[in-house]
């Protein structure tokens, strides 16, 4: 990790907006502006905007690009049309998860994969190592893109207002002009709300940020991004996903297509057939208290993410527990810094619109 944290092209905007900055994956990122809860509710009820330019991009291209991606990514990219998007994980041979990521098919032989910031360099090496056996173009594009996530019930409305064409549907992506800038508009997100993610040249990001703020987007920090994703039970790499665990126990079997022979497919198939020893469950604390990452669970298991849900008003989280104790309704006892707190295994997602 570089000794001086990097700044995104929106650093000055964050500081001017009064953000608290913190270092994350080698970048100085906004953790919050006015307050986590207010930003969280802006996304649920109106529209919020996140700078996620720390995320990495890898472009895979050429006639063998699909073949390479099928080898690297757990899902079946042959099912993705041009202009489509797909979520998947990458695994080691032993099935341990190296990253979880979205891939967009920009053209027949051109794909863009968005990596987690902390994993980008490792992913890139993984891509390049496998490209030696399967000759496809692999390009690091992290410097070429800034990324904004505009999320919430009014997100599409404010982005559409400055777009030269209708926005892509969910899980689709298309290149549009927004204001004067060429932007890859993606119908994806990490909040459980409708919205878009925008990839553009870093030089174009500040003007676009200002324009969307003018149209009502509330700047939201990574703390709100975390509470939003946790309420809808989206995984966070480094918390809920890690090399030591596989996709089946994480509940990501749906995006693993072993027949594509991705790296780790054999290990994943074995776990799928035998059943995982532990499973990632959603829980809610029954009573006061907030469980946090690392809190152990009586009888085995550990909390991997925990917070107070701003929408539900209670402590919630994700935890790995022994498979036999993973059924919805199971009572868990979580050791929260020496105090035992009762929790109940809940259905995913923890929060649903209108609940």
């Amino acid at each position: 990790m570089p000794s001086t944290p990097r700044r995104t092209s929106l650093f000055d905007k964050h500081v001017a907006a009064g953000a608290k900055m913190f270092e994350f994956a080698g970048f100085q990122m906004p953790v919050q502006y006015e307050g986590v809860r207010q930003e969280h509710m802006a996304v649920r009820e109106d529209v919020g905007m996140f700078d996620v330019s720390h995320m990495g991009e890898i472009e895979t291209s050429g006639p063998r690009a699909l073949e390479l991606l099928q080898r690297l990514i757990s899902n079946d990219l042959s099912q993705v049309p041009v202009g489509g998007a797909q979520y998947g994980v990458i695994c080691r041979e032993d099935g341990g998860v190296l990253d979880d990521l979205f891939t967009y098919r920009l053209d027949t032989d051109r794909w863009l994969t968005v990596t987690n910031a902390a994993n980008h360099e490792r992913d890139l090496e993984w891509w390049r190592a496998h490209a030696r056996e399967c000759d496809a173009g692999v390009e690091d594009r992290i410097e070429d893109y800034a990324m904004l996530a505009v999320q919430g019930p009014r997100a599409r409305e404010i982005v559409r207002a400055i777009s030269d064409a209708p926005l892509p549907a969910r899980m689709r992506a298309a290149s549009h002009k927004l204001g004067g800038a060429r932007v890859l508009v993606c119908g994806t997100g990490y909040t459980g709300e409708d919205g878009v993610e925008l990839l553009m040249s870093p030089a174009d990001a500040p003007a676009l940020w200002d324009e969307l703020v003018r149209r009502g987007a509330t700047p939201a920090g990574l703390a709100a991004r975390d509470t939003l994703r946790l309420e809808v039970c989206f995984h966070l790499y480094g918390n809920d996903l890690m090399i030591e665990r596989g996709p089946i126990e994480a509940g990501l079997g749906w995006c693993c297509k072993e027949d594509t022979h991705f790296v780790g497919a054999d290990a994943v198939r074995m776990v799928r057939e035998a059943g995982p020893a532990e499973k990632l469950v959603a829980f809610a604390i029954d009573g006061p208290g907030i469980a946090r990452q690392g809190n152990p669970i009586a009888g085995g298991g550990v909390v991997t993410s925990g917070t107070l849900s701003p929408c539900l008003g209670i402590g919630v989280g994700l935890a790995y527990v022994p498979a036999e104790r993973s059924a919805v309704g199971t009572l868990l006892e979580i050791d929260v810094r020496g105090k035992m707190r009762s929790a109940i295994v809940k259905e995913k997602p923890l929060y649903r619109k209108g609940s």
Binding site: G35, R37, T307, L308
Partner: protein, 132 residues
């Protein structure tokens, strides 16, 4: 949240706690966390008051305050026994943000070593230490 403030009449512990000793009742102190502490923590969403009767040792944690994103120990600026706790914080923990020196007080203690107050900082010395 209002702007930073460090009232002159309080004593401060470098771990971002304050103590108020009313001259009329020199054997007791009211304790809380400073503006700096609540600002660093963000919106407080949970405070479980310790029990009346609990013994506090200076420089040791006696409670936790939690924001959405983090949990933080509260350090005792002075030693003593808890004689009152702020029950309203169970329902309204954000009072710690809104009024850290008033409605957001945490506990009141009967001092067991009143001379310890001499080791605490005044507002100038405490706020000077926040410079970095």
């Amino acid at each position: 949240m209002a702007d930073a403030s460090y009232p002159d009449e309080l004593l401060y512990h470098p771990e971002h706690d304050w103590a108020r000793i009313d001259p009329a009742r020199p054997g007791e102190a009211t304790l809380g966390i400073t503006w700096y502490a609540q600002d660093a923590l963000g919106e407080v969403v949970f405070f479980e008051a310790p029990s009346v009767g609990l013994t506090l040792s200076k420089d040791e944690p006696y409670a936790e305050v939690e924001s959405v994103k983090a949990v933080s120990d509260v350090i005792a600026p002075l030693s003593g026994e808890i004689v009152a706790v702020n029950d309203t914080l169970a329902e309204d923990p954000q009072l710690i943000n809104e009024d850290p020196y008033g409605e957001g007080w945490l506990v009141r203690i009967a001092l067991s070593a009143p001379a310890e107050r001499d080791a605490l900082l005044d507002a100038n010395a405490y706020s000077a230490g926040l410079g970095g």
